[in-house]
Structures are given as structure tokens and as C-alpha cells.
Symmetry: C2
Subunit: 370 residues, 2 copies
């Protein structure tokens, strides 16, 4: 169990260190021959300290390995510089990216991230109790919503709430989303222009605003061309469910020749099923379009046409929204919708109208749609 893989035993439980005593400002003060206040000020940008004193303090701090205690500080300042991030699951391929960019953005502004995830099945309310105990300065929810009561509580506690990739009707929560509705519409136009005739939609989380808007946009776009009846199934953001949904559609009497799947994560699974279980050629037999434009969409094996979820600008917007509210210490409800674009690849038949190249990605956006 704890031997090197070649059999030699490794040192175990060597010199057990049991310090558990962190250096305090008081100790640094004594060493530097100043008061504790001076130490505090030396570590507070813009505080009133003589340069010489600051030097002495920093030197002593370095020698002792002192680091200010963020907990104690937050007790006084009433600011933890921690943002609670709730992300129920990380399956969707965009979330690692979101997390990275979010962490970088917050870090840059001197904030840390307390992450709550890994409770896909359970409700997020118990998690909420935990978050609030740490007196987070803000709350960011991705692919989750908060019950109305809890939103109220946050507002009452002065904790701004920003939803990422989800809308909410709550009057005191902000949100950042992509233009789901427009995306859905544009995909409808694109598929119609491509000469398809039997359409289907595979839903993500049926109750989420994100899914609702994508679906609504898609249906609306089709309706403009007189298409009202389309195939429908729910993938529920789960691979197993998605595969089952795809099987149902492809096995039908009149299988679709154009499928819009509510997220790339699911779209890739649908493509696998189409090709390997039904022997369908993509896009000759069936066109598949996704949403999110995850990294794998661009791999030759998939070459998935997909509407871009503009992660970087969305994260920027979310961080900005959060900072604004924290700094003004007032809860304002703002809803930002970040535009995306259709990245045209090989998984859907092309319309006659030309696509154009933009930064190496093929875009389809006819004038009348803009």
C-alpha cells in the first residue's frame, strides 16, 4: 500500500511536525521593534506608514514567515474577498473553461473562489447554508438557480448573486447568458436554407431558461417558414439519456434529417449514435447542429457545426457585474446577453448562400438576420 512500486519501502511518517502556530502580527511587531498597528499598516496598501518602517516590518515578516490572517482581517473589514461559486456538475465541456477563466478573473481582482460542486442529484439548498457561513462577498451560480427565498436572503445579507448561463426572474439577481434565442433562430434559418425538411430538437435540462430559450428560438425560426411540427426528445444533459433520445428519434418512421441538439456535450453523443448505431452519414443522411462550440467540436472526427457560447466575454461580464455590486455595496439586477455566432463546420449541409471566414472560423450570418 505504501511501498515504492519496486518493492522498496518508503519512509513513512518521518519527522512529524506539529507546529500549528501561525506567526502573528504581534510577533512581527516585537521583532521589528514597532507596534502591531504598524505591522498592520505595512501590509495595507495606502496606509500611513513611513517607508523606513514598512521596510523594517517587511523584513521581520519575511524572516518569520508571516502572512496576514485573512480570516481575522475579514472579521474587521466585513469583507472576505471570497466569491462562492456553485456549479452543480462539471460534465458539460465548457465548465472547466469557465472555471479557469473565472478563477483568473477573480484572482486578478484579489478575490478567491470557494467552489461548491459534485451534487448533481441533490438539491443545492444545503450547499447554500455552507456558502453563507463563510460570508462570501458574492455568489455566482452556473447551471443552477436559487429558490426565491434564498435569493431574498442573499439580498437581505447584501450578497450579490450572479447567474451564469441561466436567467432568473428574481428581481434582485443578475444574470449573464448567451443569446440563446437568437442562436436557436439562426440555426433554424441555417437548416432551412440547407434544404432540410424533417426537423428535431433534443432538449438539455428541460426546465432551464437556457434550454427554453434555445428551443423557443429554434421553433420560432422554423415557424417563419411554416414548419410547426418537429421531432422532440429530452437528453437531460446526460449522455445516457441523450443516447436514448437519439435512438428514439432515429428509429422513428420518419426520422429527422436535421437535428438541433441543445448543447455540444449532447450533440457529440447524438452524432456517435447516428453514425455507429444507425449507420447514418453526417451530414448526407442527417445534419446535426449543436450549441456551445466546445473544443472537441472542431476535431476532424466531429467537425460539429455549433453556435458559439462566448465564454470569455461572458465570464468577463459576470466578474464585472459582481465587482460593480460589491464595490457599490448595493444589489442591482442586471441582465447581460452576450452575442454569439454560428460556427459552420461539416456536420450540417450547407445552404446555397455563402458562409464567410472570420478569424479562421466559418460564419453564417445572412444580412437579414443581423
Amino acid at each position: 500500500m505504501s511501498a515504492g512500486e519496486d518493492g522498496t519501502p518508503r519512509r513513512e511518517g518521518g519527522p512529524a511536525a506539529t507546529a500549528r502556530h501561525a506567526v502573528t502580527a504581534e510577533e512581527v511587531a516585537r521583532r521589528a521593534g514597532v507596534s502591531q498597528s504598524a505591522v498592520s499598516r505595512a501590509f495595507t496598501p495606502g496606509a500611513s506608514v513611513a517607508p523606513k518602517t514598512r521596510e523594517k516590518v517587511l523584513a521581520a515578516a519575511r524572516e518569520l514567515g508571516y502572512r496576514p490572517n485573512a480570516m481575522a482581517r475579514s472579521l474587521i473589514t466585513n469583507r472576505s474577498r471570497i466569491i462562492g461559486v456553485v456549479m452543480a456538475y462539471l460534465d458539460n465541456l465548457i465548465y472547466p473553461d469557465v472555471l479557469e477563466k473565472l478563477a483568473a478573473g477573480l484572482q486578478q481582482r484579489g478575490y478567491q473562489m470557494l467552489l461548491f460542486t459534485g451534487f448533481k442529484d441533490r438539491h443545492s439548498d444545503p450547499v447554500f447554508e455552507q456558502v453563507m457561513q463563510y460570508r462570501v462577498d458574492g455568489l455566482l451560480l452556473a447551471s443552477t438557480t436559487l429558490s426565491s427565498d434564498l435569493s431574498d436572503e442573499c439580498a437581505a445579507a447584501g450578497v450579490p448573486v450572479v447567474m451564469f448561463n441561466r436567467m432568473t426572474e428574481h428581481p434582485l439577481c443578475s444574470s449573464v447568458t448567451s443569446d440563446n434565442c437568437k442562436g436557436g433562430r439562426q440555426i433554424a434559418e441555417f437548416l432551412v436554407a440547407g434544404g432540410h425538411c424533417r426537423f428535431a430538437y433534443i432538449a438539455g435540462a428541460a426546465i432551464s431558461s437556457t434550454n427554453r430559450d434555445r428551443e423557443a428560438g429554434f421553433r420560432e425560426g422554423l415557424l417563419r417558414h411554416g414548419i410547426a411540427r418537429i421531432g422532440y426528445a429530452e437528453g437531460n444533459l446526460e449522455l445516457a439519456d441523450t443516447r436514448a433520445a437519439a435512438r428514439g428519434l432515429f428509429a422513428a418512421d420518419e426520422p429527422p434529417d436535421a437535428v438541433f441538439v441543445g448543447s455540444d456535450h449532447m450533440a457529440l453523443a447524438v452524432m456517435e449514435v447516428a453514425r455507429h448505431e444507425f449507420g447514418l452519414r453526417v451530414p448526407e443522411d442527417v445534419s446535426i447542429v449543436g450549441y456551445d462550440d466546445v473544443g472537441a467540436a472542431d476535431w476532424p472526427s466531429f467537425s460539429l457545426t455549433s453556435f458559439t457560447l462566448p465564454v470569455a466575454p461572458m465570464v468577463d461580464a459576470a466578474v464585472e457585474l459582481m465587482m460593480e455590486q460589491i464595490e457599490s455595496s448595493s444589489i442591482l439586477s442586471h441582465h447581460r446577453v452576450v452575442p454569439g455566432r454560428l460556427a459552420v463546420r461539416g456536420s450540417a449541409r450547407l445552404p446555397g448562400e455563402p458562409v464567410r471566414d472570420q478569424d479562421g472560423t466559418l460564419i453564417w450570418a445572412p444580412a437579414r438576420m443581423e
Copy 2:
């Protein structure tokens, strides 16, 4: 920018709430007609409180929306119940999974996760400064190591350090890894048994212990069969670098007919290049084997033979190791190596010896190897 996508303006900056005053134990105490100590005890499991009193307190707390302040608590107890998790990047497909399981495991034990990520290029030392200010009870590093000085500092501060998927020579850090060496060896045996003759290895992060061990195992396994010279290139865990590495190998005069790629993340990219850029059939023209067994390895498009990184047991081990040290408040160096197995799929030619089925996955593990 902040209008509904149908053009109707949304309510913006509605009733700005500016509470910023969290309820304290003192207030709850007054309301319940008890002392502040009683409130504290009511929220401390196992404390000495009469059931009736506890009820009164909890009722008052509920009415006021009181939640204990974790910061203040940590100041007294000298325990933050926060684990610092440093994960330089999340590209590797296993990390979302690791993160989810880790969060769940820590949560269950009443710990939270302060996540540091999104600094692939930069060094992790500045991050370290931040982590330590929050007086984390433990530090978990995935795909990163700590300079020796910083490891010393952690030990001195009584903060246990657990490395995940990386080994370290530092006498006061623990680690949890898969059996990289054995994995590499077994892959070598498998490929030799499959009748291949020109081998190549594509490295991940060349300096990491993980890569070193996988490569060493692979080379050792080949050497047992008298094979000393093999192709080599570095993918550096980056897709672009990996593709370049693959191109170099496949374009060589004597291209390999068996490639072991240091991680699935890269192996998938190698497969893409082989198929779509060189028109190679997998496994007829070239066998490709990866390491990690990520979800996508099992997709029909790839069907990647891969050595399993046993994420769940590894996370369990890491959490256990962490808790052990926190609870005993002594730093012990333990190194856990969790066994994996070769998941045999279609990307590599099969040896004559049979593979066997285990829980739906094909395993190849001849008796002499066990």
C-alpha cells in the same frame, strides 16, 4: 446590452438593497433570552446545552436568519475547515471529474474547497501566498508541485500537503498516484504481444514524475523484449504541441506502428492526426494506446485502449490522507499508489492471448504480470 432579446427593456437596478449587516449570535441570544455562549453551544454538536434551550435558540436563529460566522469561528478554533486546492489547469479531461469527487468527499466531511486554477503559464508560487492567508487546513495539489521551500513552510505551519497524480521527494508531503510505472510496463507487454515492432512514446509534461514513471515503465517493459530504441516526442499536455509531435513521428522514414501516448487527452489528438492528416487506419496501420481512460476513450469514434486512472479511489485516498493528518495535527509523509488496469478497446491490435471481461470492460492482464 441589457435589454431582453426581443427588445423590451428589462428592469435594471431596481430596489437596491444595502443591508450588509449579518445577524450575530449576540442578537439571537437577546431574542431567545439566553447568553451568547448558549447560542454558540446550540450550534456546536456535542456541547453542553439543555434540549429546551437549544430549541429556543434555534427558533430565534431561524426567525432572524442567523448563521454562525465561519471566519470568527476559525479565529478561535484555529481551524478554517477549508482545503486549498491548486489545479493549474483543467484541460485534462479527468480534472472535472476529480474536482467533482473531491468536492463531494470534502463536503461530506464538513470541509470546503478554495480553488486556485487558471494560471497554466505562470508559476504557482504567487498563488501560494494567497492560499496561506486563508489559513487552509490542508493543501491539495493536482498536476503541480511545490518548491521545496514552500513545502517546508507548510510543514512549519502545520498544513498537510497532499499531491494528487504527482509524486514528490519532499519528506513532508504526501502523494496519491496511480501505478504509472506498472501501467507503462503493461502497455509495453500488450503492444509487444500484439506483434508490433516499431514503438514510440509521446510524453506529457516531461519533467513531471507522472510522465517520468509512465515512460520509464514503458521503456523497461520494452527492454525486457530487447527493444531499446523507440521513437520519442513531447506533447507537453498541449493539443497543439501534441499534434506537432504526432506529425513528426508519422512523417518519419520509419513511422511507428505502436504509439503509447502519455495521456488520453493527448492520445485522442494523436489519433485525429493519424487518421485525418496521414490517412492511417487505427489499429491496422498504427496502434495507439493512452493513459487515464477518460470518458471519451469509450466513444465508438475513438475506442481508445487506455490504462485506467482510478479517479474515485485516488480521490478517496487523498481525502483520507488529508483528514488523517488534520485530525492528528501532525504531518506525516505517506505515498499511496492506487492500482489501475488496462481497458482494452479497438485502437490497438490485440495480442493472441485472450482479454477477459470485468464489469463490462475488457481487461488484459496475463498471469505473469500480476
